[in-house]
């Protein structure tokens, strides 16, 4: 018996229906407002066009959303990702200015900084049993201070074509940030879905004590997901730093944790933990970025940005809520004779 892979039913069961519908609707609005947006062309070996643009700008949020999905799946949350971006950028910029190390080593150093930050968060949550909101709040508040310390309060700029390639370069036509999202997504999918790790993560989020009794090491799993989230945030920070060839500890990744959490929630993952979907989180990031683009292209004054975003978020939340869906069902039953 064969079932079509992309049937509507399969999508609904996977929870992908509403996010894809939302994305489609937003893209429809963009098309209506600015039909030329989706036209693409190839120039200097790069594909230029609306879809690529959305993927490129949404890449940092998408990267962070991947790590954030895993954290949220264990029932936790990571508010410190923006600060970790700042720290990773500060580390990389300082190394680029102060030493002759090869770019890959510097990238590794930045990723290690993120890993360490993530491990700190994980140690607080898993080791000391502190609530994730508070544990990551600490790094959120203190992390930018640490990044400023590293930068001596300045915005450090550097000149390195090799490093800048991470942010502005292109491979086979697609921008590097988009490649990074693909790479990390496939790596994480492989790590969590091709092994039992994903199952354990979902189990820990669904019921931590039951998981412990079943033999899962809840502490190691929690430690691991925060470390992964830290590394993802560090990568996003390196991309942002490469983009402007500078490390701005005050502004880089400001409030990006909120966008990332939104992306994960829009993708259907519950904040209570349990089942998660990395692909849907990335789609959620695309939805947020598409929304930003749609607002800009529609010519609505930018001061209405936040209000529109808020209304859309509440709308999506209500649509996803099972209570609202039950109310719709009742309404449909009452209207149908």
């Amino acid at each position: 018996m064969s079932r079509p892979l992309f049937s509507l039913d399969a999508m609904r069961r996977h929870g992908a229906l509403w996010p894809l519908v939302a994305l489609g609707l937003i893209w429809l609005v963009i098309f209506l407002v600015s039909p030329g947006f989706f036209a693409f062309s190839v120039q200097d070996g790069r594909i230029l066009g609306g879809v690529v643009d959305i993927m490129n700008r949404g890449a940092p949020v998408a990267l962070i959303a991947i790590g954030m999905s895993l954290v949220i799946a264990t029932g936790g949350i990571d508010l410190s990702v923006g600060a970790v971006m700042a720290i990773a950028g500060a580390v990389a910029a300082n190394l680029l200015v102060g030493s002759e190390l090869p770019v890959l080593v510097i990238m590794g150093a930045g990723l290690c900084a993120g890993l360490v930050a993530g491990l700190m968060n994980g140690a607080l949550v898993a080791g000391m049993g502190i609530q994730p909101i508070v544990a990551t709040l600490i790094l959120l508040v203190a992390g930018r201070g640490v990044a400023q310390l590293l930068n001596d309060g300045q915005i450090i700029t550097f000149q390195s074509e090799a490093f800048a390639f991470i942010g502005v370069g292109a491979l086979l036509g697609l921008p590097m940030p988009v490649w990074f999202v693909f790479l990390v997504l496939i790596a994480m999918l492989g790590l969590t879905r091709a092994t039992a790790l994903g199952l354990f993560i979902e189990a820990v989020g669904a019921n931590a004590s039951a998981s412990r009794y079943a033999g899962i090491s809840v502490r190691s799993i929690k430690l691991a997901v925060y470390a992964i989230a830290g590394a993802c945030a560090a990568l996003a920070g390196l991309i942002a730093t490469a983009d402007i060839q500078g490390a701005d500890a005050n502004n880089v990744g400001l409030w990006i944790e909120l966008d990332a959490i939104l992306a994960v929630v829009i993708g259907g993952t519950s904040l209570m933990g349990g089942r998660y979907s990395l692909v849907l989180a990335v789609i959620g990031a695309l939805i947020i970025q598409s929304l930003n683009t749609a607002i800009i292209l529609s010519g609505i004054p930018p001061k209405f940005n936040l209000v529109i975003k808020a209304v859309v978020i509440i709308g999506v939340l209500l649509l996803q809520s099972s209570i609202v869906q039950a109310q719709f069902a009742m309404l449909r039953a009452r209207l149908a004779p």
Partner: protein, 319 residues
């Protein structure tokens, strides 16, 4: 009578005293009533907001929208005053808007069982956005009453000034403590924070209380917005960005558990004072950069959270 449950608050007060002593030893003019009372004046709006946040956190929830409500209230007040509306219409109006907004969030949280984090996050975007729509630029406030109230107050010996901000803070403090410990509403809040389902089974009116909690939090944030408008004599849509995090930090440093059910309003006030004292110490020093404040506040939250964890072994491994 100080029980073990008061320990976190006592620790906060001890730390406050220790830092005050350190500052007094190091800097000329630190040990004065003026410095102490300035803490109240400068942080009154944060304290009022944090007290509202305490109720929310006691019930096991969280409110990320308070900073935006402060900004919205401030800018709306400024714009309406500039348009000539009388104060006795403007103030009740903005307070009512705050109350209604909070009640709306409470409804979404309770009736649709949406997570407080996300609902108040959306609320934060909405309020910040509405503030920007009202006015993108800073709006100055010029009103005789503002000048009068800003200079109102009395001098204490030692050149300490007790102004309108401090007095209003004291009134709110007394009201909040009475509400939390001497009224049924407070009991309901603690009950819901302890165990929501058990509270419902015990005939605690969970719906009314939940909506009331978020309405109260937004109401106090609106009040803080009015106080902030007096403090700055202006309304600005981008004010108080990130203030919700300061409020949460103050609540945690004040000894309230983020899971809810345990904590004191007075503790929150002590938390705000301690954070304000750190800022004062750093500005007296002059050479330390202001981002050290962030690092110290982060460390304080860390210390207090660890103390809480050590004190609560029965929280155990149910995480």
């Amino acid at each position: 009578m100080i029980t073990h449950r008061h320990t976190p608050v006592v620790i906060t007060i001890v730390l406050f005293a220790a830092l005050f002593a350190l500052g007094s030893a190091q800097y000329e003019g630190f040990f004065s009533l003026r410095v102490f009372l300035n803490l109240f004046t400068d942080n009154a709006f944060l304290a009022v907001t944090a007290m509202g946040m305490t109720f929310v956190i006691l019930s096991g929830g969280i409110d990320l929208s308070v900073g935006s409500v402060i900004a919205f209230t401030g800018v709306l007040t400024a714009v309406l005053i500039q348009a000539g509306w009388p104060l006795y219409v403007v103030f009740p109006l903005v307070l009512a808007i705050g109350w209604g907004f909070g009640a709306g969030m409470g409804c979404l949280i309770h009736y649709y069982r949406l997570q407080p984090f996300i609902v108040t996050l959306a609320g934060m975007f909405l309020m910040r956005g509405l503030a920007i729509v009202v006015s993108e630029r800073s709006v100055p406030i010029e009103h005789a009453a503002y000048d009068a109230i800003n200079t109102m107050g009395f001098m204490l010996p030692g050149r300490g000034f007790v102004g309108a901000q401090t007095i209003l803070l004291a009134v709110v403090l007394v009201g909040a403590v009475i509400l939390a410990h001497y009224r049924r509403f407070g009991t309901y809040v603690y009950a819901i924070g302890g165990d929501r389902e058990a509270a419902g089974l015990m005939a605690v009116p969970v719906a009314h209380t939940t909506i009331g909690i978020y309405a109260l939090s937004s109401f106090l944030a609106a009040l803080a917005g009015i106080m902030f408008s007096f403090y700055t004599s202006s309304g600005y849509a981008l004010a108080a960005v990130g203030l919700e995090l300061d409020a949460i930090a103050a609540v945690v440093i004040g000894g309230t558990l983020l899971t809810g059910g345990s904590g004191y309003i007075v503790g929150t006030l002590a938390g705000v004072m301690l954070m304000g004292l750190v800022q004062t110490y750093i500005s007296f020093n002059g050479s330390l950069n202001s981002w050290w404040t962030k690092i110290v506040v982060g460390l304080l939250v860390l210390i207090f959270v660890c103390v809480q964890r050590i004190q609560q072994p029965r929280m155990g491994n149910s995480q």
